[in-house]
Point group: none
Chain length 71, copies 4
DNA sequence: GTGGTCTAGACCACT
DNA sequence: GTGGTCTAGACCACA
């Protein structure tokens, strides 16, 4: 995993862990693209990783949400 | 066609083929939204497809009805 | 215009004149149906009248909004 | 088909017929949203119709292209 | 109170 | 950064 992706991942992890509560919706993919200054591919790579960890959960057409049971 | 739409399509096909008779009225779009747990857009996509096939026919202000000649 | 429609009209007029500001969105047609306890036909009749007066303006798919220049 | 969609359809037809040549790429759906002032749903409805007619062809991840054989 | 049209914006699959 | 799928919910036309 490259340097850019790693920085994006840490930014999203921090957002989820420190600024959001379980059940909260994350910023949209396109908002994260703008805010983090990375490509949509990179954003999705990060979100897919966090989804696999169970930290967040995607709902088609609605958004990403912070999981109730992290892990 | 996506996974969600496909499941909804199968549910409506089964309803039309097994529980309703020619001339019967289908549940309203909004009822199907509740019963199938999908958006109205997805419900309409399915009903439009079945209409194009001639399985059902829409009547503005009245509802959807099972066709007399399926096919 | 019947008694029921008149009561509904007065309720919406009061809402627009006293509780909302120019540019604000009105409650949706279906919300007004529930809140006023009248049919959709009655609600639309009232909103059409207020639109004709220039008090409110409809935007398809978005809602009704209080006009900037009432009248 | 509604009034808004019809206007959008005519605009795209004119673009395809008068300003683009076979093989040319159309503006992206999101660009058309901005240019035509309608929602992406409406844009897609128009493009789906023109695709069904064979006037244009969609390529996933690449864009819409003017067909070689219009019709 | 139904089907028809339209808005706004999300995630997904792909290049 | 495109097209593809899906959500949510608004007003419109009709019965």
């Amino acid at each position: 995993m490259g340097e850019v992706t790693e920085r994006a991942e840490n930014a999203v992890r921090q957002l989820v862990g420190e600024q959001l509560a379980p059940g909260d919706r994350l910023p949209s993919e396109r908002t994260l693209v703008d805010d983090l200054g990375v490509s949509r591919t990179t954003v999705r790579l990060v979100l897919l990783k966090l989804s696999a960890e169970g930290l967040v959960r995607a709902e088609h057409g609605r958004g990403y949400f912070v999981s109730e049971r992290p892990g």
